[in-house]
Every structure is written in structure tokens, then in C-alpha cells.
Amino acid sequence: MINIENVTKSYVKGKKSIDGLNLEINNGEIFGFLGPNGAGKTTTIKMITGILNPDEGDILIDGKSIQKEPIEAKKNFGFVPDSPDMFLKLKGIEYLNFLADIYEIPNEVRKERIENLTKKFEIYENLNAEIQSYSHGMRQKIVICGVLLNNPKNWILDEPMTGLDPKSSYDLKEMMREHSKKGNTVFFSTHVLEVAEKLCDRVGIINKGKLVFVGTFEEMKNKFKENTSLEELFLEITENEK
């Protein structure tokens, strides 16, 4: 469960990048975070994951404050950043073992998890190669595998589908569904409205640092024009705020 409580952040004095954001992502929920470029999606994700400190407010991950108990809070989530170009000089297996050591994954389950995940994402055969030799999609997959290795209760993903081939994208979506069914939380940002519509239990739309809509797609359609396309709805919500 992720609680964002009255969070405000300014990069430049007098201009709020995030303005009084309140959001609760419940257990067993897939939550899509939408918004135009520069709306504040990445800033919000950075604050949830402890990369940035909010100026005001607090964020709790399963009840642990990311500011007051950062280590405990960080143990409760796995984060997939928007760029998968990480530790390119490590071999795939070395990267996964590095993360497994960070998250203290015991020997007994480590091998099984690595094999299962990498075989599912079809990168098992490449584990002995440097990540630098991987394609963009394969890099994305190894980062996702690294995050899922710890089996964290809360998944936070920044544009996770970018670069994935259709099968991997499908598999990831299935895994997100399975994860939420087990009572866990999935929070992800995306530009692809169709993905959000098909996958998310609820969505939040942010524009110019303010949350302009939270709810299900049904609620969105009811609130605005019922017969317009998803794309038009999104544009209407974000443009009305200008």
C-alpha cells in the first residue's frame, strides 16, 4: 500500500512542480499514473522511491515513511526506472546476483527465482553476457527481473512497457495482474492510454503538478463525455486545466 500525503515539491522557488498531492494506492490494486510530458509523473515517482525529498508532506510504503524510515520503506518496494541502461559492464547474472545480495535473498530460493524469471522473459541464455551487448528490450527485461527477484509487495514502474516486445509486454501485464490478485500493489506510469484502460483498476491523471482526476475509467467516462474516445477524454481533462 502506498500513501501519498499532501506532498509538495518545487525545483524553482515559487513554482510548484507537485502541488499538494494526495493519493492512496490500495493493496490488490493496479494503479496507472497518467499525464502529459512534464506534468510531474517522474517527480512523483522519484519522491515515492526516495530519490527526491518532498518539501512538504510525507509518503508511506506499507506504513513506513520514506523520509523517516528510508531503509525499511525501501525494502517494501521494487522500482523499475524509465531508463534500463544500468551497470552495462556487468553480466546479466552478475547484476541479478548483486541485487539478490542487496535484498538478502537466500541461496535456497535465489537460483529458482532467477531461472524462472529469466526463462519467462527469454533472457536466460544471455545471462552470461555483459548487459552492454543486450538490446534495449533485453535491458528492460533484466531490470524488471532484478526488481521482481525480491518479490516486493509494492511494484513501482516508470514507463515499464517501453522497448518490450509484444510477448514480454503481455507477460509483464499478466504478472502485474497476478501480483495484484495476491493482494499486492502495482503503481506504474505510462503514456499508453490503452494499456492503462485494459490493465488498471484505477488511474490518476496529473497535470502541471496537480492531480486532476482519480478513479476508474468508468468514472472518468461518466464524469466527462460518455461517448468520446479515451484519447479525447485525456486531452479534455488535461487541456481544461490549462
Binding site: 544500468m86 559492464k89 541464455e125 555483459e130
Partner: protein, 554 residues
């Protein structure tokens, strides 16, 4: 053609120096930038002051024996050797392992244009150091010898043209050796062997050009002749005599003729370089070497899934990245290991040429094997080598935009910084041991004395490693498109030199204070205590400030 080369040069330079650009609208940022400029001016003044002080002393001495022109030869030869060695590392990094190659190669540019632009960057990068080791001493020389205004003009021109030849020689050597990479299967091993091979060749060239083969009789003859000593040096590099003649003369015609000669030789060499380079460059290893190691080898079940301690796995990760990335390896690790061995080995060979027949003779030059001065001398030499270790000074910058990784994993920043500093400490200790072992082989010092020197050297190394980490934490270079920018065009890397020199001054000062007043062992013990206290202060600072310093990384 020219415009494309110029634009390309600008792009390479701009992307490298982006973190010191000052353009920013915000007042606070602009104030910070001003503070940084003031700091850099201060740093420059500090280095220039030290170089200037020594230059003044040397010129003063040479003036008294009417051998002042030797200074011109020594400075120019020094520039040549320094640029020759420096360019080896830079050329391999910039020409072959730069990530910007991926963006540049698909553009409609000729190989010669890319090569010219990259060579321009190599040259321009070297000018900064030429400014300190060349401009300042020659300026002082002009002042002390009451030179004509025309001296300053020819001096400026020579400092611009003269370093080009060593840059071209080193780069050409790199181009030739690297062109063989396509015949090898194991690229990683090839690049390591190639780098070491080129370095050995360049060191050999440097030391044979700077060594002397004069007999004692010849030396006396040259010494008695006004400015005779310079004759030993001037034949070492083709343009050296011309440069010295141009600087020493006050006749416009002589100056012009010599400058013209240097220009002509440089021009011919440049043409040869470009002609050969465009054939070798793209056909060589570009892209090929950088693509990362692909292998379909099965993973070893027993080893691959084994749990390790966090410290071991984290430090291991740092080392793997340092060793497998050729630019980081060449700039951060290799100099630390190779410089002591090469300088000392070639130094001994050079000394033998001067009449010292055996190592025993070198050892006999210092009768007291437990003198505090001998220990301080070894520490100074170690300190000099440590100026080339950039591991801690780039610990955060090397991660680039991925440095945020440190912030979202459940490991405290302080703990991670302890792991990040370890590779620098380990490599410094290896360098300490190599240097002290060679010193022990030469001087045959008592074992307790050797242990004490090692202890002090390690303590200094640890302090420096932490201090360098603070430097990188204060102003990390996180936005880069090529690793070359992190290790070569990074203003932070002046700090190892500044702190190295400061520490040399501290060592000499402390030695002067305690020499003769206490026994050597007590003296060394005082060193240990002082550096232990310093270490505690530095560690406390990091502990209290790490999280705050890390706030600006996001």
C-alpha cells in the same frame, strides 16, 4: 569540410565540459557558478604558484652558471614527454571507447573529419596542462632574463604548436596498434595488452629522449661553455632545437625561420597522420570494441547463484565496472600500477647511463637507511604517483545518471560510500606496496622501518581516498555522453594534484620540523598519529554530510 570539423569539435568539447557551463538564469545558480569560477581561478593560481616558485629557483641557479637556456630545453622536453604519455590514455579513450561514437558514426561524415575533430579535442585538452607546466615557467624565464617583447609572442606560438607533435605521435601509435584488433577474438584481452604495449613503447621513447649519454669530460666542456648544457637536450625531438633557438634569439629573422620550421614539420606530420589515420581509424576497432562482451557460455550453476556479503558484492561490482570499462581502467587503475614500475625501472636504466653501474651504488648515495628523510622521500614519491589515481574522485560520476540507484535501494548512503571508496584504497595500497618494495630492493632498509613507512603511506592513501570522494560528492559529473568526459575533461580531477602537492608540502614540512629532534621511529610514530587524527576528521565529515550532499543527486 572545415565547418563540419569545427562543429564536431565544438560538440565533443561542449558535451564534455557541460558541467562547468555557467549559463543559468537562476540567481542562486549563477552565484554558485561564480563561486566555482573563483575556486578554479584559485586552484590555477595555487598550481601556477608552485610551478612558478620552482621555476624561479631553477632559473636562478642556472643563471649563476650561465646555463639558463637549459631551462628552455628542460621545459619543452618536459611538455613533450608529458603530452606524449597523457595522450596515450586520452587517444585510446576518445578515439575508440567513447560512447558518442554510436551517435557520430551514422552521420554523413568522412572518417578524416571525425578524426580531425577528435584530434582537436585531444590537443585542446592538453593545452590546459601546457598552460601550467609551460606557460608559467617560460613567462618567469622571460622576466628573469629581461627578454624582448618578441620573446613573449614566440613563446605563445611555440606553446601552441610544439605540443601538437607528441599528440600526433601518440595518437598515430594508438591508431596503428588498434587497427590489429579486428584480427583478435578476445577484444577485452586485446585492449589491455595493446594499452600496456603502447605505454611501454611510449615510456621507452620518453626515457631514451630524456636520458643522457654524455661522458663526464663532455659535461665539463659543456658546462664551461655559456649555455652549453642545452646541447644535450636539443637533439631529442626534431622541433626542440628550433623551439629553443626561437625562444633564445632576439632577431626577428631567426625567430621567424625557426617558427616556420616547426610549423612545416608539424604540418607534414599532421598530413601524414590524417592520411594514415583515415585509412586506419574506421577500419579499426570503432564500435567493434565497444559493443560489450557477448557470450553464449552456460552459467556455472555452483558459482553463479552463490550468496555473498553485501560489502563483497558491492565492492566487486565497482571493480568489475572499473576493470571492464576500458576508459575507466586506463585512466583510473592502470596509471597507479604502471607508473611506479615504469618510472622506477626506466629511471634506473637512465641513471646507469649516467655512470651508476649498479643498484648498490644508488643505495650507497644514502648511507643512513633509517633516516627520516629517506622515509619522507619515499612518501613524497608515493604521493606523486597517487595524483594519477582517479577512482574515488570519479566514484559517483562514473555511475552517471544511474547514480540515483544508490538512493532507492535499501542500503544506507553512508554504507554505500564506504564501499565506493574501497577500490581507491585497495589500488593505492597496491601502489604503495609496489613502490615501497622497489625502494626496499634498492635501499635495503630495516623491516620495522619499512612497516612504519607502509603504515603511514596506507593512512595517507585512505585519507586521500575519502577526500577525493568528498570532491566528487560535492560536484559530481553525472550528465555525460562519453566516459572520456568523466576521467579527462572533469575539473574535479585537479583535486588529486592539489591535495597531492599539499600533502607533499605537509610531509616535507613535518620532516623538517622533527628531523634531528626525535628518533626516526618516534618521528614516524608522530606521522601515524597526525594522519590518524586527520582520517577521523574526514570520516566524521562524510558521516555527517553524506545524505545532505547526496540530496542534489536525483
Amino acid at each position: 569540410m572545415k565547418n563540419k570539423v569545427l562543429s564536431l569539435t565544438k560538440v565533443f568539447l561542449r558535451s564534455s565540459f557541460q558541467n562547468i557551463e555557467t549559463a543559468n538564469n537562476q540567481n542562486k545558480q549563477s552565484q554558485k557558478s561564480k563561486a566555482m569560477i573563483i575556486l578554479y581561478v584559485f586552484i590555477f593560481a595555487y598550481l601556477a604558484g608552485i610551478v612558478g616558485f620552482f621555476s624561479f629557483q631553477i632559473i636562478n641557479g642556472l643563471l649563476q652558471i650561465h646555463q639558463e637556456q637549459t631551462f628552455l630545453g628542460v621545459i619543452l622536453l618536459g611538455i613533450g614527454v608529458f603530452v606524449l604519455i597523457q595522450t596515450i590514455f586520452s587517444a585510446i579513450s576518445l578515439l575508440y571507447y567513447s560512447t558518442d561514437n554510436e551517435y557520430i558514426l551514422p552521420l554523413p561524415l568522412k572518417p578524416s573529419q571525425i578524426l580531425m575533430a577528435k584530434t582537436n579535442v585531444l590537443m585542446l585538452t592538453e593545452y590546459f596542462i601546457v598552460l601550467i607546466i609551460g606557460f608559467i615557467p617560460l613567462l618567469i624565464y622571460g622576466n628573469m632574463t629581461d627578454a624582448n617583447p618578441i620573446y613573449y609572442i614566440s613563446m605563445t606560438m611555440i606553446l601552441i604548436i610544439f605540443p601538437i607533435i607528441p599528440v600526433l605521435v601518440s595518437s598515430l601509435l594508438v591508431l596503428i596498434v588498434m587497427s590489429f584488433s579486428k584480427f583478435t577474438k578476445n577484444k577485452n584481452r586485446f585492449q589491455l595488452i595493446a594499452t600496456i604495449l603502447i605505454l611501454v613503447v611510449v615510456f621507452a621513447i620518453s626515457f631514451t629522449t630524456s636520458g643522457t649519454e654524455s661522458s663526464p669530460e663532455k659535461m665539463i666542456e659543456l658546462l664551461t661553455k655559456a649555455n652549453g648544457l642545452v646541447e644535450i637536450i636539443e637533439g631529442k625531438i626534431p622541433t626542440l632545437k628550433m623551439a629553443i633557438d626561437a625562444l633564445a634569439s632576439s632577431e626577428v629573422m631567426t625567430i621567424l625561420l625557426n617558427l616556420g620550421g616547426i610549423l612545416a614539420i608539424t604540418g607534414i606530420l599532421y598530413a601524414i597522420y590524417i592520411l594514415l589515420g583515415q585509412k586506419l581509424y574506421l577500419k579499426g576497432a570503432v564500435g567493434n570494441l565497444y559493443s560489450g562482451k557477448k557470450t553464449n557460455k552456460k552459467i556455472n550453476d555452483k558459482k553463479a547463484f552463490r550468496k555473498s556479503s553485501l560489502a563483497k558484492t558491492y565492492i566487486g561490482k565497482e571493480f568489475k565496472i572499473l576493470i571492464r570499462n576500458p576508459i575507466f581502467f586506463m585512466q583510473c587503475i592502470l596509471p597507479a600500477i604502471l607508473f611506479p614500475i615504469m618510472v622506477i625501472v626506466f629511471g634506473i636504466i637512465g641513471m646507469k647511463e649516467e655512470g651508476i653501474q649498479s643498484i648498490t651504488q644508488i643505495s650507497e648515495m644514502i648511507p643512513n637507511k633509517t633516516s627520516i628523510i629517506l622515509g619522507a622521500g619515499i612518501l613524497v614519491v608515493i604521493q606523486f604517483f597517487s595524483m594519477f589515481i582517479y577512482i574515488s574522485a570519479t566514484a559517483i560520476s562514473r555511475d552517471g545518471e544511474n547514480a540515483v540507484f544508490m538512493k532507492y535501494i535499501p542500503v544506507s548512503i553512508n554504507k554505500q560510500l564506504e564501499y565506493k571508496v574501497m577500490p581507491n584504497i585497495i589500488i593505492t595500497i597496491i601502489m604503495d606496496i609496489i613502490t615501497i618494495a622497489i625502494a626496499e630492493y634498492i635501499f635495503k632498509m630495516p623491516i620495522l622501518y619499512v612497516i612504519l613507512i607502509t603504515l603511514v603511506a596506507i593512512l595517507i592513501g585512505i585519507i586521500q581516498s575519502y577526500l577525493m570522494l568528498i570532491v566528487d560528492l560535492k560536484k559530481p559529473k553525472l550528465e555525460w555522453s562519453s566516459e572520456y568526459a568523466v576521467v579527462k575533461q572533469n575539473m574535479n580531477l585537479i583535486w588529486p594534484v592539489i591535495l597531492g602537492i599539499a600533502n607533499i608540502i605537509v610531509i616535507i614540512g613535518l620532516t623538517a620540523l622533527i628531523n634531528g629532534k626525535v628518533s626516526t621511529y618516534i618521528g614516524m610514530f608522530i606521522f601515524v598519529i597526525i594522519y590518524l587524527i586527520l582520517l577521523m576528521i574526514v570520516k566524521k565529515y562524510i558521516k555527517n554530510n553524506a545524505t545532505k550532499l547526496f540530496e542534489k543527486i536525483f
